[in-house]
């Protein structure tokens, strides 16, 4: 049964699900949820490459996402950049920042690395909240529509097609990376840094690359979110969003690309499903997370995969 989740099969299931959603519903509410899930899933996959595979934690990824989002908002609104250029400028800024901080930060391990990335994320969100002249401060700011080659991307169906396609590409690329020497190198760094070095792996360089890559993915998705929602608040770059993103990775399953997608779907859907609990959503939400961690510490998808594998024997 292990093959059920193997490379090609997993992608086929993902493509089938992504195709089925618009066929089953044209309800704007559900399509909107699906778009948010896909965007979150892409960020979670990038984060999982860093946390689950390379074993380097980041509690500041919403900061990178925020830089991307606010670059798109501010550069288009105040400086007349075309949206795509603003998006790329944001990604380039995030790449440069991530590259600069990666070497000193990624020398740290465990709690120290968590604290350092947490600090970085908080600094970014404070800067965004304080630069009210450009960002609107805590009140947020409107974001113009995304235009690609002079044509505006509007309507849930178009947005859905765009992000679904991106999700398939990112899941495919991430799975390819993991199955290749460069991806095995990341996992070896997680398993034993000294063994990785002895095998000739450039540990520091690999950590920097995967950190930059996952930060840039977050930045690009931040830009898309800003354009899609059309309004941006500093919460996008905040600490709680970072925790939310990490929870997607952990609940879905560390070191599992498809786990990240499941985690993103759950964490995006749960608040909706729990709205019946009026005011107690957060408590129920927390309880679900705790129960998942106690009974499925490896995360949902790896635990299910193991169960299937055992049942298949």
């Amino acid at each position: 049964m292990k093959t059920l989740f193997s490379h090609g099969a997993g992608l086929a299931i993902l493509a089938a699900v992504l195709l089925a959603v618009p066929l089953m519903t044209s309800n704007a509410f559900y399509l909107d949820l699906a778009i948010r899930i896909a965007i979150n899933a892409i960020v979670a996959i990038g984060l999982n490459l860093l946390i689950g595979y390379a074993g380097q934690i980041s509690l500041g990824h919403a900061g990178f996402l925020g830089i991307g989002a606010y670059s798109s908002a501010v550069l288009t609104t105040h400086f007349g950049f075309p949206p795509l250029l603003a998006m790329l400028a944001g990604a380039a800024a995030v790449a440069a920042l991530a590259f600069l901080v990666a070497r000193p930060i990624l020398k740290l391990k465990g709690h120290y690395l968590a604290m350092a990335t947490l600090g970085l994320g908080i600094i970014i969100s404070i800067v965004i909240a304080n630069e009210a002249g450009y960002t609107g401060g805590p009140d947020g700011m409107p974001v113009p529509a995304l235009t690609v080659m002079g044509r505006e991307v509007t309507g849930d169906a178009t947005w859905y097609a765009l992000v679904a396609l991106l999700l398939i590409i990112v899941a495919w690329a991430a799975q390819n990376l993991i199955d290749a020497p460069a991806g095995r190198a990341l996992q070896a760094i997680h398993g034993s840094e000294v063994a990785a070095r002895v095998a000739g792996i450039d540990v520091a360089g690999s950590k920097v690359k995967i950190f930059v890559l996952s930060a840039v993915l977050a930045s690009l998705m931040g830009s898309l979110t800003a354009h899609y929602v059309g309004f941006l608040t500093p919460g996008q770059a905040g600490f709680f969003h970072s925790i939310e993103l990490m929870t997607m990775v952990v609940v879905g399953g560390m070191a599992s690309v498809f786990g990240s997608i499941v985690g993103a779907a759950l964490l995006t859907l749960l608040p909706q499903a729990l709205s019946a609990f009026e005011g107690w959503e957060t408590v129920v939400f927390g309880a679900i997370l705790m129960i998942t961690m106690i009974f499925l510490p490896a995360g949902l998808v790896p635990a299910l995969r193991l169960r299937f594998a055992k049942g298949g024997r």
């Binding site: 290749a180 460069a182 190198a185 996992q187 070896a188 398993g191 095998a199 000739g200 792996i201």
Partner: protein, 257 residues
């Protein structure tokens, strides 16, 4: 192959290795022995680049590699195993071995993400080679296993397979027989001989004297960080200082610890 000249390292005030010189000829099996705390593993960490020496030089195939980091030493053909296992428990057994071949396959992350066909083919060849190596070290039964499912003895073999996957010129084995029973030790002895016969120079740290004397061309004896003796097994076993270190001085040293 390897020449160590006046190598020293100190941690704070402790001189863990002091002024040690010896050389290893190509194709030989050279053992490092000594009581606990003699500096054997520290010596290994110096030779494999994990530690930087305070002074002295390490000539590996004619080049001074002292202070060179492990990843650069790996490029020059040095590989090793670890006394306390360093198997990646988050990976499958065969992937652990494939990590050893990293330098042969390495390409950038972006090429990897695009799944280029040439890369796939080389990767498949690497997987076959890794399976062959697992067979060679006697861990063939675990080709489909996850590292976390393997018993201790098999993990030790897996580490050797990973080190061999780099096709090293020189292999450092840090206590390959530690924790193994007599039968397993006998198998490891045969394995080390096979490795040496395939043209790989072997340097090993080991406590099992029977294994060491039967397998080694030369033995370096260390005590308190210094070189006590270096010679053939017969020479070393007849050396009065070595006998004193093992039967007399080591007892008092043990009590002092």
């Amino acid at each position: 192959m390897l020449a160590v000249n006046h190598l020293s390292i100190s941690f704070g005030g402790v001189k863990a290795v002091r002024d040690v010189s010896f050389s290893v000829a190509e194709g030989q099996v050279h053992a490092v022995i000594g009581p606990n705390g003699a500096g054997k593993t520290t010596m290994f960490n110096l030779l494999s680049g994990v530690y930087k020496p305070s002074s002295g030089e390490i000539l590996f195939r004619g080049e001074n590699v002292a202070s060179m980091p492990p990843e650069q030493l790996a490029r020059r053909g040095m590989s090793r195993t670890f006394q306390n296992l360093q198997v990646c428990m988050n990976m499958s057994a065969i992937e652990n071995v494939m990590v050893g071949a990293h330098l042969k396959l390495n390409q950038g992350m972006f090429q990897a993400m695009c799944r280029l066909p040439g890369l796939r083919r080389r990767d498949a060849a690497c997987r076959e080679e890794a399976a062959r190596l697992m067979d060679f070290v006697g861990a063939g039964a675990y080709v489909g296993a996850h590292a976390s499912q393997m018993p201790y003895g098999a993990l030790k073999r897996l580490e050797i397979a990973r080190a061999l996957a780099a096709s090293p010129a020189m292999l450092l084995l840090d206590e390959p027989a530690a924790g193994l029973n007599n039968t397993e030790t006998g198998e490891i002895e045969k394995l080390i001989r096979k490795i040496a016969d395939s043209g790989v120079t072997v340097l090993l740290v080991e406590h099992d004297m029977k294994l060491v004397t039967s397998i080694s061309d030369r033995i370096l004896v260390m005590d308190h960080g210094s070189r006590l003796a270096d010679g053939t097994p017969l020479e070393v076993c007849a050396n009065p200082e070595v006998i004193a270190a093992y039967l007399g001085a080591s007892v008092t040293a043990g009590v002092m610890q």
